[in-house]
Each structure stands twice: as structure tokens, then as C-alpha cells.
Symmetry: C2
Subunit: 422 residues, 2 copies
């Protein structure tokens, strides 16, 4: 009985669905319902046959620093892994040479394959803080996309109308503003569609802004006589400002390489209204914990933020450093939340002393020097020993300067571009 | 002195320009002036070096029957040949698999390369009634286009914006009507651009509706560090109705395979207002003859039409058959122009007798039979010997049925589609 399925290999469909469908947003509820039904059927088939589902998400290697926003789909892939399914971490080594226009309102510069592969390496290494490295297949889409001929491209393009592309939010906006839409930007969806065909996927994961591209995959798979992939999209995580999509260019990121203290502080400073979405998308909490947090948030939003901050730090730095961050913060802040602290734009390097004096955190430069000498000044949680230490502008990172127990400065870098989270 | 140029090889630049620029219409006069200047410079360079210009026109092999409209650019190529330049007759063997959306207001069906090559053979054979076969290089664009990779296509597409395409008359119209524009239709211009690069042309010829595609060639050549080709476009020839672009689907063609009598009759029946354009585009007349015809047309448009009809018949059937057509027409028509004849739509095969009787060209079926027996009935100029002869619907051809000397019927086939000449 070689092919006898192992019925204990996968958890019951309902349990899997409850985990996997959490946070799914496919634009309209009917699409979500259809996808849930499809996923349920696939999971049932997988249990019957003992064959895991094949799930993928594509990642654009054009940014080398991973932030919390990138980790949302990775966390979902991780859930699939934990449920026993097969995960493909697809590096957009070919698509990266164009740049995804989905999350941009202007055309991005093209890069070479070599540049894309170079960035992809760092990117993948960071991704394994979330994904199970041993259970992850890494693939690169230049393997099949660079082999496509003009004829193949025509064949794929003939399935789509120009109007379908122009109806997309980002392209429509650019058209209305009179900004150029370069023809090759339309190719991004065609590439993603071919990825789905080449990988013979069951499920594709992505942000809601990717819905069009993921649906293109369904269309092409159907045209190729394949069962169209199930599409699961998730909301876009807003950055530390609570409004704009988290992105390096908006200067509102929580980077997974941020040290524990900085990461903790950034989460504590989040606007209250985005805390529920962060809990939903960026934690490993189960439904009961989530429900409890939501209930508690009505009276004690600061407490929920602390738990959220600890959970996020714990994800990337482990539990010990997370506990340490909680303790440090309690000691440093003395009960005063730094969100009330004044904000200073640091657009060029400035000394700690200048910053303290200019913002009147100290009464005189002399007091500033003394305070540093006494170990009473901290930059991002670390004690400052030299008052002339230069603080450098860090786009995408909020820094915190502390004088004594209660005086704080939040240091930001002016954002070069502004863009709404969709 | 092996490389000594032969200064007598080419005629003076001014003489060449006067012939080649005749009828050129590049949308706006400034573009025409620029192109004339460019062409002059190239012709001067050609005379200096003794090297002929390389001129090409692409032909879509999706129609196998050549009509007068197709011959306009061929006539221009012929002029280049007679002036000693090198002509490439480019068969769109690859582009034909998409179909040119330029002259259509709806997407055309794709065909296979084999189908396209098959049609191209008939098409090229017909073209040599105009072009000098020995001096013509025939080429096929699948030779280079089928080798392009996805990366190459991205590279070309990145030079153009979606807005540039949507500003084109035909695409804008379809967008306004809410008709689908399929993405691959945008690729047609990219292909033509690559043709120009592959052929390293000096000059490209085309209809005014092709201006966008020809200009795309200039853009790509510039991006490739080449001298951009000079672009010469010519007005679109209206069909026998004088309004719509000549095309098989509009049923208003003068086919180069029409027999002399039919061809002669069709030209005689042209609406007066298109006669000057026909003289300009479809004759071999020199400037003096053209000026004389235009002057004479004010008083004797019928006489100019006869000369025009004779000239066009002579082009495709030779001078003897043209003289014969003039004589036949004079005898048949007895001075009455068939344009006043009633028109009947033949949508299914009908007998000559039925047609005569139904249209009351004869008083009775008996009279019809007698008239046929006496040799008094002609179909398209040929005597009918059997009253039950079936007249078949011929899309794109007007047929003429004649009873006695003065009674005529014009037989047409309902047009499946209507489209404006641009």
C-alpha cells in the first residue's frame, strides 16, 4: 500500500483555514469568499492525497533592507510551512530589472540582473528570520522569464486589455495626473502570471496592491489549461506615521535590523488607530490573544502597545532581548511615553550637544556637557560618552535622544516623498 | 581609384526630391518640411558617395488580394528604384501573426506564421506588377523578431509611454467607444521599430495611418545610436464610394486582378471629388500632366475620369487592353454613365434572368431570355450566353449587368463593416 495517504499528516481543514484566512483581504468580500472556498477544497484534496500544497510569494529584490511591511507575506508563508505545506520564496530576479509599479506612483529605475541578484542575497538571508530555511525552496524568476521569446510575450499579452491595466488604481492616478506610464510597466503583471504557470502553484500570497498581478496569474493558468491558483492578499501595513505605506522612501519603517530598544520605542510610538491592524498582521498571537488585546485596548491602549512591541521585538530578536527592552523602557521612560516628546528634523549630522541645547533639553551647553559626563544622556537607549558625538540623519528611522529621566527628543529625517497606503 | 564615386549615377537632388516628395503627407507641414530636408541631405550624401539609399516598406500579408490602395506605397518604392536606390519589400511575416491595428477599429484575429507566409507568397507575386523584381530585396521580419527575448522587448517598450499609444487616433476612438484594446496590439509599433533597426534603413514608406509606427522606428534607431530613418507617409486612398478607406471588408476595392472592363468601369464611377487624389496617388503622370488634368477637370470631369481609368488599367493590364477598355466603354455606354444605374445588393447567388426580371430591366422573363439569346446581355463586359448563369456575391467588387445598350444594373455585396478613411 505504497500510496496510502497518511491521514494524520495535515491538520483538519477548518483549523488550517482559520489560521490561513486570518487577515485576508481580496478587495471585495465575494472574492474573499470564493478564495476561502477554493482554499478549503485544495486543503481537503491535500489531506486526501497526502500531498502538500505548493504556495509562493514573489519578492522584489530592489530593496536590500527588510522592514516589518515585507514580513507580512513571509509570516503567512511561515504559517503554511508550519501546517506542512511547500513554500517557494521567489526572488524577482527578472522582474526586479523592471521594478514593480504596483506600489509606486512613478516609474522606477531599471536595474541589471547582476544588481538584482546581489540585493536578493541579503534579502533572502534576512527572510530566514521568519521562514524555516530548511523547508523553503528559493527560486529565481529569471530562470524562465529570460527564456521567453517575443512570440511568447505576445501570446500572454493577448489575454489582457489596456483598459484592464488603466483601471488599476496606481495607473489611473498617474494617468489622471498626466504622469508618464511607460509601456514596459504593464509587463510586470505578465511576468507574475508566467511565474505562477512556471511554478505550477496552488496558492499565491501578496499584498492587496498585488491583487491585479495575482489575478493575472489565474487568467494565464486557465489559458494554459491549468487549475488557476488560489489568491490570498493581505492589507498593506502602514508605517510608524500610521498613514503612509511602510517604505524606506517614506522614512517610516520599522526595520528588522533595528536594535531591540529602537524597535520597541518605534512600536510604542505608533498612533493608537493602527494598533489593531499591527496586532492582526504583525504578531504570532492566536485568536484568543488577539480578542483579548482588542478588548483591553479600549481602556489600556498603552498596555496593548507594550505587549505588541514586546511581541514584535521577540519575533526578530528573541524573547530575552524583548524582556530586556521592556525593562529598559520602564526604567528610561519612568512612566512618560516618548510619544509626547518634541520632534526634531535632522537633515544633516549634528552633535548631541547641539541637539540638547537647540531643543532646550538642557539650560546651557555647560549643563549638557555635565549631564553627558554623568552618564545621563542616551541615544537610542545607549549611553552617550562624548557630547560631540555626531547624530547622523537616518532616513526611515526615528531616533530617540534622552536627557535625564524625563526629557526626550524624537529625531526624524525629512521624508523625500509622500505616498498613501492603499 | 577604386572608390571614385560615379557622379552620373544619380540624378540631381532637386529632381529626385520633386518626384519622391509628391503626395507626401506627414500629418503636420512642419514634419513634412523636416523630412524633405532630411531626404535632401541623404540624397546629396548618396550622390557624393555613389551609394544608393536603402528604402523599405512593410506589407501585412494578412490579405492575399492586392487592391489599388496597397499599390500607393509600392508605386513610391518603384520611383526610388527608378532613381537608382535600393528597395526592400518587407513581408510582415511576424507582425502578420498579430495584425496591424492601425487601420482597424477593432482587434484582428491572429494567424500563424505558416498562414502568414502562405499569403505573403501570392501577395509578393502581385506586387511585382509594380515593382522591378530584379531590383527588389524581399525580406521577412520573423527573421529577427522571433529571436527577440522578453528582455529585448522590455528594453524597446521602455522607450514609449502608454499615453503616446492612447493618443493615436484609432486607439483613442476605441477607448472612447469602450471597445477592448488588447495589450499585444501596442506591440505592433515596437516591431516596426525593430524592423527599421534590423534593416538599417535610410527611408521608410507608409500610409499616413502608419506615421506613429514609422516614428517609433526613428526613436528606436536613435536609442541604438543609429541615424534615424527619414519617414515618408502618403494619404490613404478612399475606395469606390469615395468616403471609406479602400478595403476588402468595406467592399469598395479596385483589385489589381479585376479584368480591364470592370476596372475601367469602377474608375469611371468614382465620385468626382476623389478624382484629384486618385490622379495624384494612383497614376504615373508627371507634374505637367497632373496640372493639365486638374485644370481640365473643372469643365470636363468625365473626360478626366476616362483618362484616369485608362491610365490605371494600363498600369495593371498594359496599354493595349486599356485602349480596348476605352473603346468597349464608348460602345457599351452610348454616352450614358453607369453611375446613374440602379444598385442591387447580391447577398446570395442569383441567376442573370432573375436579376434582369426583378429589377425590371426587362418587361418579362421571356424578353430576358430572348435578349440573352441575341447576345444583348453582358455581365462585367462579357456577353452572357445562358440566362440561368449564376451571379455570385463578390465582397469588395462591384459587378455590372447590362441589358441592351442603355440599361444597367450595379451589383454590390452588402458591406460587413463600415470604417472611415482617415
Amino acid at each position: 500500500m505504497q500510496n496510502e495517504p497518511d491521514l494524520n499528516k495535515f491538520r483538519p481543514v477548518d483549523e488550517q483555514l482559520a489560521i490561513l484566512m486570518r487577515g485576508v483581504d481580496c478587495g471585495d468580500p465575494r472574492t474573499r469568499d470564493n478564495m476561502e472556498k477554493e482554499l478549503g477544497d485544495r486543503l481537503a484534496g491535500s489531506r486526501d492525497s497526502g500531498k502538500p500544497l505548493r504556495v509562493y510569494c514573489g519578492f522584489d529584490p530592489s530593496r536590500s533592507d527588510l522592514h516589518l511591511g515585507h514580513t507580512i507575506p513571509m509570516r503567512k508563508l511561515r504559517q503554511f510551512q508550519e501546517l506542512g505545506h511547500q513554500v517557494v520564496f521567489l526572488i524577482g530576479s527578472f522582474t526586479g530589472t523592471i521594478g514593480d509599479p504596483s506600489d509606486k506612483d512613478s516609474a522606477r529605475a531599471q536595474q541589471t540582473l547582476a544588481e538584482a541578484l546581489d540585493k536578493a542575497e541579503t534579502f533572502a538571508a534576512q527572510a530566514f528570520r521568519i521562514l524555516d530555511r530548511d523547508a523553503t525552496i528559493i527560486d529565481y524568476n529569471h530562470r524562465w522569464l529570460e527564456k521567453l521569446t517575443f512570440g511568447d510575450v505576445i501570446d500572454i499579452a493577448s489575454l489582457f486589455t489596456v483598459q484592464q491595466f488603466l483601471a488599476r488604481h496606481n495607473f489611473r492616478q498617474r494617468q489622471e495626473r498626466g504622469d508618464a506610464i511607460w509601456l514596459h510597466e504593464f509587463f510586470y503583471a505578465l511576468m507574475q502570471a508566467q511565474d505562477a504557470v512556471a511554478l505550477e502553484t496552488d496558492v499565491q500570497i501578496g499584498g492587496t496592491d498585488q491583487l491585479f498581478n495575482l489575478m493575472a496569474g489565474r487568467k494565464l493558468m486557465e489559458a494554459r489549461g491549468m487549475k488557476p491558483q488560489t489568491v490570498l492578499t493581505y492589507p498593506i501595513l502602514p508605517g510608524t506615521d500610521g498613514v503612509l505605506r511602510m517604505s524606506k522612501s517614506s522614512g517610516n519603517t520599522i526595520n528588522i535590523d533595528d536594535d531591540p530598544g529602537l524597535m520597541f520605542t518605534k512600536v510604542l510610538n505608533l498612533p493608537d488607530e493602527v494598533v489593531p491592524l499591527y496586532c492582526d498582521l504583525a504578531t504570532r498571537w492566536d485568536k484568543a490573544t488577539l480578542d483579548a488585546a482588542q478588548h483591553r485596548g479600549q481602556d489600556d491602549i498603552a498596555g496593548v502597545k507594550r505587549d505588541l512591541a514586546k511581541e514584535i521585538v521577540s519575533t526578530f530578536h528573541g524573547n530575552d532581548l524583548a524582556e530586556q527592552a521592556v525593562a529598559d523602557a520602564a526604567r528610561m521612560h519612568g512612566g512618560n511615553a516618548p510619544s509626547s516628546a518634541p520632534v526634531v528634523d535632522v537633515s544633516e549630522p549634528m552633535s548631541v550637544l547641539d541637539l540638547l541645547a537647540d531643543a532646550s533639553l538642557v539650560k546651557s551647553r555647560g549643563e549638557g556637557r555635565r549631564l553627558v559626563a554623568q552618564g545621563g544622556v542616551r541615544l537610542n537607549g545607549a549611553t552617550v560618552s562624548n557630547p560631540m558625538l555626531k547624530v547622523h540623519p537616518q532616513p526611515g528611522q526615528e531616533q530617540v535622544l534622552q536627557a535625564g529621566k524625563t526629557r526626550f527628543l524624537r529625531l526624524t529625517h525629512p521624508m523625500p516623498k509622500v505616498q498613501r497606503a492603499s
